[in-house]
């Protein structure tokens, strides 16, 4: 316990440094309000429900988009690894879209689906699909051919084979792909909401910032940052649990 406290002491120091900078007017307190005032603003935002309402919208978008990407991207990646013809045709498209800076899709998804949930979910889905597909593909390709053969010789059907043999052995790579996608989903959520939305964390940050409510803006920024961090940590725990059979 003490070692953990010692380890995270620098973060506390950083917070105290921030408070001091603002308190002693070393920097403009408008540009950097004291952390304590940010905390007060956070409580206010929680109390009037704005943070919770907008946050629920944002998280729904993240997990709906990511969920679709896992199901469709994961399936596609494993199918590509199994069927060489499919691979030959789809792989070039994956290679083509992999380097696309996904943020360029923001105005396009707005043109297709407008300003609501639909365009954000589509954006997050498209953005997350590639890393998940690649993870599933690389994982499934790596699954040992011997295992596949022996399963087949025991009379397993193709679908059973997929589920019992290919999916578990593709899991580590797939889970890593999903982790990359999770980080990307948060980035795309915040930025698309900053640019074109009427609800959500990003919208709230942009709105509070432009009305000069900087304390509240910092409160939302820190909340999003923390949620992104927490989502990653929780995912890591889940990942370890899913992979416990490997030990």
């Amino acid at each position: 316990m003490t070692s953990a406290a010692f380890r995270y002491l620098p973060l506390v120091l950083l917070a105290l440094f921030w408070e001091a900078l603002a308190r002693f007017n070393i920097v403009d307190s408008l540009a950097l309000p004291p952390l304590s005032k940010v905390a007060v603003a956070w409580v206010d935002l929680m109390r009037d429900g704005e943070l919770v309402n907008n946050g629920a919208v944002s998280l729904y978008r993240v997990y709906a988009g990511l969920g679709l990407a896992i199901v469709i991207g994961g399936g596609l990646g494993m199918a590509m690894a199994r069927w060489r013809t499919l691979d030959a045709f789809i792989n070039p498209l994956v290679q083509l879209f992999y380097p696309l800076p996904k943020s360029a899709l923001i105005p396009v998804t707005v043109i297709w689906l407008g300003f609501g949930d639909g365009s954000k979910i589509l954006l997050i889905f498209l953005g997350c699909m590639i890393p998940v597909t690649i993870g599933a593909y690389n994982g499934a390709r790596g699954s040992e051919q011997v295992l596949v053969w022996s399963a087949r010789s025991m009379g397993a059907s193709r679908l059973r084979l997929m589920w019992d043999v290919v999916v578990p052995s593709a899991l580590p790579e797939l889970l890593n792909g999903i982790r990359t996608a999770l980080a990307l989903a948060f980035i795309l959520m915040v930025s698309s909401e900053l640019i074109a939305a009427q609800q959500g964390f990003g919208y709230l940050i942009g709105y509070l910032g432009s009305t000069g409510a900087y304390e509240a803006m910092y409160a939302v920024v820190l909340t999003v940052a923390f949620l992104g961090f927490a989502a990653d940590r929780i995912y890591q725990i889940l990942m370890q649990w899913l992979l416990r059979w490997r030990e």
Binding site: P10, N91, L96, L100, A104, I111, I134, I187, V190, Y214
Partner: protein, 277 residues
């Protein structure tokens, strides 16, 4: 408690799908199929856009978009926007690269540095740092400096974590023998540690580069002005769909070329390494 090294797993996988060695005929089939499917995509785009099922606004035909890009190229607007975007993304990327490698080197050499920065890096790495964009605008305005800053802020983390992991993985025997031959700490860093860690460092850079591009485009969309992302946002405001899709194609090409160049550079730089042998 999670350590920095935990973050390396996803970072360790650079561009794309690894292809197994294939026979010549197979390779010919694959490349043929590749060109075929990209062509099919473009044809499908064109036909779908002209089918009447979608409006010009929702999906302008590919030929219209190509003409728009050509017109922008002849008028010179494309090159100004391209130059501005590349300039900011690359300056940001280089600062992140140099800064990240330096910071990680210092962290691995000095315990105090490591103690201080370790939690900051490991907590900061998974955060959606783009949320800080309005804060950076508040501090630095809407010009180049703030755009470059957010690019650095976002892309430095994978460089630091990859470099740290690379340095940690340098074999102890290598260090001992170098010390035995009389190398001081400085020489050790420059001539032994960094070269030995370079494959991992390059992997970190390969992760950081797309991040730099993604963030630069977002920053331009939010702040306006010249640049491919800014032009795309402007086009969107004027309901100029060909302009929006032209932006998408241009940005896609920039991303594609940069990432290929980076992969080639990796290949060149690691000629000596077993990875490329």
């Amino acid at each position: 408690m999670a350590r920095i090294e935990d973050h390396i797993a996803p970072a360790a996988r650079p561009a794309g799908i690894s292809r197994p060695s294939t026979r010549r005929l197979d390779a010919a089939f694959r490349s043929g199929a590749g060109i075929f499917s990209i062509l099919m995509l473009l044809i499908a785009w064109e036909l779908f856009a002209r089918s009447g099922k979608v409006t010009m606004f929702m999906l302008p035909p590919f030929t219209v978009v190509a003409k728009y890009i050509a017109a922008d190229a002849t008028s010179g607007v494309l090159w100004i926007n391209l130059a501005v975007t590349l300039y900011r993304a690359m300056v940001g990327f280089f600062i992140a690269a140099v800064g990240g490698i330096t910071l990680a080197t210092l962290m691995s050499r000095f315990r105090l540095m490591r103690w201080f920065f370790d939690p900051i890096i490991s907590v900061g790495f998974p955060m959606p740092k783009i949320a800080f964009l309005p804060v950076i605008i508040l501090w630095l305005g809407v010009y180049d400096v703030s755009k470059i800053c957010i690019v650095v802020f976002d892309s430095i983390f994978p460089v630091v974590t990859a470099t740290l992991a690379g340095i940690a993985a340098v074999e102890k025997e290598l260090l001992w023998s170098a010390r035995n031959m009389g190398a001081n700490e400085r020489e050790l860093t420059w001539q032994v540690v960094l070269p030995a860690a370079s494959p991992q460092i390059l992997t970190g850079l390969q992760v950081a580069l797309p991040i730099a591009l993604i963030v630069e485009i977002i920053a331009e969309m939010v702040m306006g002005g010249y640049g491919l992302g800014g032009a795309m946002m402007s086009a969107s405001r004027f309901a100029n769909s060909p302009g929006v899709f032209a932006g998408l194609v241009e940005i896609a090409i920039v991303g594609f070329v940069l990432i290929k160049v980076m992969a080639m550079l990796r290949h060149r730089l690691l000629v000596w390494h077993e990875e490329t042998a």
